[in-house]
């Protein structure tokens, strides 16, 4: 019994040194822009935790009532967003079972919302036609786990298409990331219908 406890305790210590912990937290929402039976873009909306918010506010100010000017947004993009290109902007898209590489984004914007939390938004252009049964999956996560991203309660929306013609659901599954092993990933899945 003592041996079992000793070995088990060592196993706990061993696993205790694995992995790491997040230091930035994001609540996210994904929006799909549809126009004339085409998925034009996937839009990401991120709301940051108070600590990261103040880190940005310290460097870039608070804008006019939370609204940053174009030049301030550009500064934030260059100083505290564009580096995410090395991490595919934490955005992983799968269209009809095929991965879409996210190597650039458009229409980046930043603001402080009514609760004074920093918000980022940006678009991943797709420009693909919708066929009956087209499936789009969007996951947002940081492979390094420095940032923990979770979908909000109102996790997704589709603009430019009646609600009756698409379905959406939020799923959670385990996936393997380098170094840390299996982690929980949230994915929003859209299924579109065409007459």
């Amino acid at each position: 019994m003592r041996r079992a406890i000793a070995i088990l305790s060592l196993a706990v210590i061993a696993t205790g040194s694995l992995s790491a912990h997040p230091h930035v937290w994001i609540d996210s929402r994904v929006e799909v822009e549809v126009s004339e039976n085409r998925i034009e873009a996937v839009r990401a909306n991120w709301s940051f935790d108070p600590m990261f918010t103040e880190m940005i506010a310290l460097d870039y100010g608070r804008g006019q009532s939370g609204e940053y000017s174009d030049s301030e947004i550009d500064s934030i993009r260059r100083g505290a967003f564009e580096n995410l290109r090395h991490y595919e902007y934490f955005t992983h898209i799968e269209l009809n079972g095929r991965s879409v590489t996210v190597d650039s984004v458009e229409r980046f914007s930043a603001r402080l919302n009514s609760d004074s939390f920093l918000e980022y938004s940006f678009e991943v252009p797709l420009g693909v036609p919708i066929e009956d049964g087209t499936t789009l999956k969007v996951s947002m996560y940081d492979e390094t786990f420095f940032t923990d991203i979770a979908y909000r309660d109102d996790y997704a929306g589709v603009y430019g298409m009646p609600e009756a013609r698409y379905g959406k659901r939020l799923t959670r599954e385990r996936h393997s990331i380098p170094i840390w092993g299996y982690m929980t990933r949230e994915t929003v899945e859209f299924v579109f219908e065409v007459d």
Partner: protein, 336 residues
């Protein structure tokens, strides 16, 4: 056979304590290192699963599920605590400090510190390796845990104040850059310390073997009395000082965020109080881990007979030194 099995298991478990190393960098500011980059990870053959619904046999396993659920649960609580602490600090800074405000800041910070340390990182592998490598007592484990936490926090506070004083723009990214430099310095120091540990242990083994040979060659086979048996015959040798200094200089990222937050909302004193409480929480968790390591090491060694116990003892200590050296070398490779 059972003894072989136990030894093998022990070696595997000890080795596991350092396998996945934590090198922290802020992806919003820092250039990624090889292991962080998606393309590099793919090139290096590391398993990457793109595509939301893919799973593997291991991913469906009980351990993988338990691990992923535990990490998610703790991270979710940290998210909640982080939000509450941030809002509380902001409210207190705006409406003045009350008794309940102080208590709230202290309580949230302490619990946040404990939870933050529970999820791995903070060079806990170095702490564990040291406790394995040296003949530390329980009291040393407690002291080490708190020293790690205090150094970690002091480093963060110093770096934030120095950066705020010296740099006028891009404070967040400047702090991130300085933090990365401290990680590089820490890794170099760990390589040196690990090498010294290995040298000292090897020298002890050689001395012991010579001594044993000498004693056994004497007529009548006198009892040796030095380092025979699994008992620790030397107290801890003070090697903890360089270990603590070398790892403690790395600032805790959450403490730097907290201090930057406090500076931003003009609540520096409140921020310092929060950092002290957070460090206390970190210290409790780290001290518990160090004590657990020391106790388990003693219990595991006690499972073996005196001769095997001594051999294992020396072997484990040498392994601990190699681990410290390995932690430094691997993190250095990941950083540069």
């Amino acid at each position: 056979m059972r003894r072989m099995y136990r030894r093998s298991l022990l070696i595997v478990l000890v080795a596991l304590t350092v396998v996945p190393l934590s090198v922290r960098s802020n992806p919003f500011f820092d250039e990624p290192r090889a292991r962080d980059r998606t393309d590099s990870a793919a090139e290096s053959g590391l398993e990457m699963e793109h595509g939301p619904m893919r799973s593997t046999r291991w991913g469906d396993g009980v351990i993988a599920r338990l691990w992923a659920d535990t990490v998610r649960s703790i991270s979710s609580r940290q998210r909640d605590l982080n939000n509450r602490l941030g809002l509380l600090l902001r409210n207190v800074s705006e409406s003045g400090v009350t008794a309940s405000g102080w208590l709230g800041v202290l309580g949230f910070s302490f619990v946040f510190g404990v939870l933050h340390a529970v999820l791995p990182g903070h060079r806990k592998s170095v702490l564990i390796s040291y406790c394995v490598a040296d003949r530390a007592r329980v009291v040393h484990g407690v002291a080490l845990g708190f020293l790690f936490a205090v150094m970690h926090a002091v480093s963060a506070v110093v770096i934030v104040f120095a950066t705020v004083s010296l740099v006028e723009v891009s404070l967040g990214s400047s702090v991130a850059r300085v933090s990365r430099i401290t990680q590089i310095v820490s890794s170099v120091l760990l390589v040196a310390i690990g090498a010294v540990f290995c040298y000292l242990t090897t020298r002890e083994i050689v001395r012991h073997m010579r001594h044993k040979s000498h004693e056994h060659s004497r007529p009548g086979g006198a009892v040796c009395g030095v380092l025979h048996g699994g008992d620790s015959v030397h107290p801890t040798t003070g090697k903890w000082v360089p270990v603590v200094l070398s790892t403690g200089i790395i600032p805790c990222p959450i403490t730097t965020s907290l201090m930057l937050f406090a500076v931003s909302v003009n609540a520096v004193y409140l921020g310092l109080v929060a950092v002290i409480a957070l460090s206390a929480g970190l210290g409790v968790a780290l001290a518990a881990l160090a004590v657990l390591t020391i106790l388990v090491k003693g219990r595991v060694l006690a499972l073996f007979d005196r001769k095997a116990g001594h051999m294992l003892h020396v072997g484990v200590e040498l392994a601990g030194g190699i681990m410290i050296l390995g932690v430094g070398a691997i993190t250095l490779m990941l950083l540069v």
